[in-house]
């Protein structure tokens, strides 16, 4: 009577037989999450055309987990929607009931629906976006200023006692940001003076004016290059370190713990970093000056065959009393900018590790921008002052 006709077995997960009533499904093997793709393919590949009854047997099923049960439930739902009758030979598996129970527990709009609503309101949202950002930027400026204010107030009040200045903490930051940066700063200063000397020697040679290489290297390094490149390196090294350090302390609620203990985090965390860098950066600049001049001297000696005594004489003639100080006095200003950018962004970190990464990046980019911008202002200022 029964016209049995085997359909293609689905990956050893089910066997289907056609009867004159409809379909008989024999589930076999392991219906586990890890085999979800195969389960999906096996059920989707079933030909339900003309089937009025689907009978499912789970006797030979070895394992059925929640994901498998959910997929089976979806299949049953779709089959019933197509007008066929679904039944189980024996009792339906427990896992189906569990899925039903869990999904019934609470009915709420699905995730997908809210997504569609979101897209519908796109026009209003874009307007809202502009407004929201304008307000956010306005608040940002206010917050920037208030951070600056708080650090200044803290600094002034901390100046009243040595204990509140936390000399040990400052020393640690001088070491971290200054002493450990000496090798890389020296190397960069040396290379940059070699580049300047080499490039200018090539050009000036055609005029027979090689002696001016010394002027270029000396003035360039002392006034601009040493302090600027040192600041950029320090912004990359220490600006990021400040932001990351304070940021992870924020995430760990360590900053809140400080507040709760009655310790002002600005005094304990921000001020030592700012002061440490204000001490370290000028010292690093002096080292960069020295190494830069040494590099220039070596290149003049070996590339231009200029005796060292002549080099030293020329250096003395080239610089005015202010040259060295003009470069050096920029260092503490740059130090404040770098340290403030790093600490400020670090203190802004909230909620997630992604914020930490984003704000660390922002801190470094801003520190470098501020340093270069301030350097441009200094250049104009010094020109007006004629020094």
């Amino acid at each position: 009577m029964v016209r049995a006709q085997r359909q293609a077995a689905g990956n050893g997960l089910l066997e289907a037989r056609r009867t004159d009533q409809g379909l008989e499904l024999d589930l076999t093997g392991q219906w586990r999450t890890l085999a979800f793709t195969q389960i999906d393919a096996a059920l989707a590949g079933l030909d339900l055309k003309g089937a009025r009854r689907v009978e499912i047997s789970t006797e030979r099923l070895e394992a059925l987990d929640l994901s498998g049960a959910w997929r089976l439930r979806e299949f049953i739902k779709r089959t019933r929607a197509a007008g066929a009758e679904v039944s189980f030979r024996g009792t339906p598996p427990d896992q189906l009931r569990l899925v039903d129970e869990t999904l019934k527990r609470e009915c709420s709009p699905s995730v997908v629906a809210s997504q569609a609503a979101w897209e519908e309101e796109a026009a209003i949202r874009s307007l809202e976006f502009v407004g929201r950002h304008a307000v956010v930027y306005g608040r940002d400026v206010a917050r920037d200023l208030s951070f600056l204010g708080r650090v200044s107030v803290t600094a002034l009040s901390a100046l009243t006692s040595l204990k509140r200045l936390r000399p040990i903490s400052i020393a640690r930051h001088v070491y971290d940001t200054g002493v450990t940066a000496i090798p890389i700063v020296a190397l960069i200063a040396f290379l940059i003076s070699v580049i300047v000397a080499y490039m200018s020697a090539q050009q000036l040679r055609s005029f027979g004016a090689e002696i001016f290489v010394v002027d270029l290297v000396t003035i360039g390094v002392l006034r601009e290059l040493a302090v600027l490149l040192t600041s950029i390196i320090v912004a990359g090294r220490s600006g990021s370190a400040f932001a990351a350090e304070l940021g992870s302390m924020k995430l760990n609620e360590e900053v809140d713990a400080l507040y709760a203990t009655g310790v002002n985090p600005f005094e304990a965390l921000v001020l030592p970093r700012v002061l440490g860098l204000v001490i370290a950066l000028p010292l690093l600049t002096i080292i960069a000056d020295l190494v830069g001049l040494t590099g220039g001297a070596l290149l003049c000696r070996y590339l231009l065959d200029m005796p060292l005594t002549q080099y030293v004489n020329r250096v003395n003639e080239a610089i005015s009393p202010t040259t060295f100080w003009v470069g050096l006095m920029k260092a503490p200003v740059f130090a404040i900018l770098i340290a403030m950018a790093g600490c400020y962004r670090g203190m802004q970190v909230r909620d997630s590790s992604r914020e930490l990464g984003r704000l660390t990046t922002v801190a470094v980019v801003q520190a470098i921008f501020l340093v270069i911008f301030a350097d441009a202002l200094f250049a104009v200022l010094f020109m007006e002052l004629d020094v």
Binding site: L66, W70, T102, L103, E106, S352
Partner: protein, 255 residues
């Protein structure tokens, strides 16, 4: 015969001169809730990290579902990891992902399934862990302590493992939430026929959920059923199960 799902034989863990485990033995059987108990610094977390393959032991054999993990390469370990779920003490949810994305992450990593099915299945797990549906779109920083524990549980269940490791599942919860969480663990254990290994200090949790308990004392483990372990002569175990807090608990429960 009841097959041991997790088997630890002669585990030795040493940090510098400090010997944490010296020949520790442990076996977890199918369908049971196994509690790991021990004082602070006795190496409960180290034991769990060793079993999870996060750290290599100096000596000893660890088997999960009969497969020895101590000698496995990183790639082989990867395939074992799809068979168990873990929750960490602080939840360890990925802070830059929503709860839904947190639950989906193991699925994306181990199974190739259509995004729509993945959404639905992740929602199923989130509800199974007793979270409201609107929690799915929240970030971990927006969740309460109890919800973080539940979200972590939902993530641990993402691949429908048969084996679950819970590290201090009820720590930091108020007694009512902790009791609810105990019931949730029991419900899931029964419904999904899970084998659960949990580290806990919570006497209420131990008495409510555990079938057998392993206590780490003197760098090895005393394993027995809950009924029998409370009468173990070891002074630490006596103090633990019959100390001030245990007595208060017994009175509370009118025992």
């Amino acid at each position: 015969m009841i097959y041991p799902v997790v088997e630890v034989i002669g585990l030795v863990n040493r940090f510098g001169t400090q010997l944490v485990h010296d020949g520790l033995n442990m076996d977890v059987r199918e369908d049971e809730v196994f509690g790991i108990v021990g004082g602070s610094g006795t190496g409960k977390s180290v034991l769990l990290r060793s079993i999870l393959g996060l750290q290599r032991a100096q000596a000893g054999v660890i088997r999960i579902a009969g497969r020895e993990i101590t000698q496995m390469t990183v790639d082989q370990l990867h395939s074992v990891k799809a068979h168990y779920g873990v929750t960490f003490q602080q939840g360890a949810l990925y802070s830059s992902l929503t709860v839904l994305q947190n639950v989906q992450l193991p699925m994306i990593e181990h199974v190739d399934m259509p995004p729509a099915a993945r959404d639905e299945l992740a929602m199923l797990k989130i509800r199974l862990a007793g979270l409201p549906a609107d929690a799915a779109q929240k970030y971990p920083s927006q969740l309460s302590g109890g919800m973080i524990k539940r979200a972590a549980l939902a993530r641990a269940l993402a691949l429908d493992p048969k084996l679950l490791f819970l590290d201090e599942p009820t720590s930091g919860l108020d007694p009512i939430s902790a009791a609810e969480f105990d019931e949730l663990i029991l419900y899931l254990q029964k419904q999904l026929r899970l084998t659960i290994v949990m580290i806990t200090h919570d006497l209420d949790t131990i008495f409510r959920t555990c079938n057998r308990v392993g206590v780490i004392v003197d760098r090895h483990m005393e394993v027995d059923t809950l009924e029998r372990i409370v009468d173990h002569p070891n002074p630490w175990i006596q103090a633990y199960f019959h100390g001030e807090r245990a007595r208060a608990r017994a009175e509370r429960h009118g025992a």
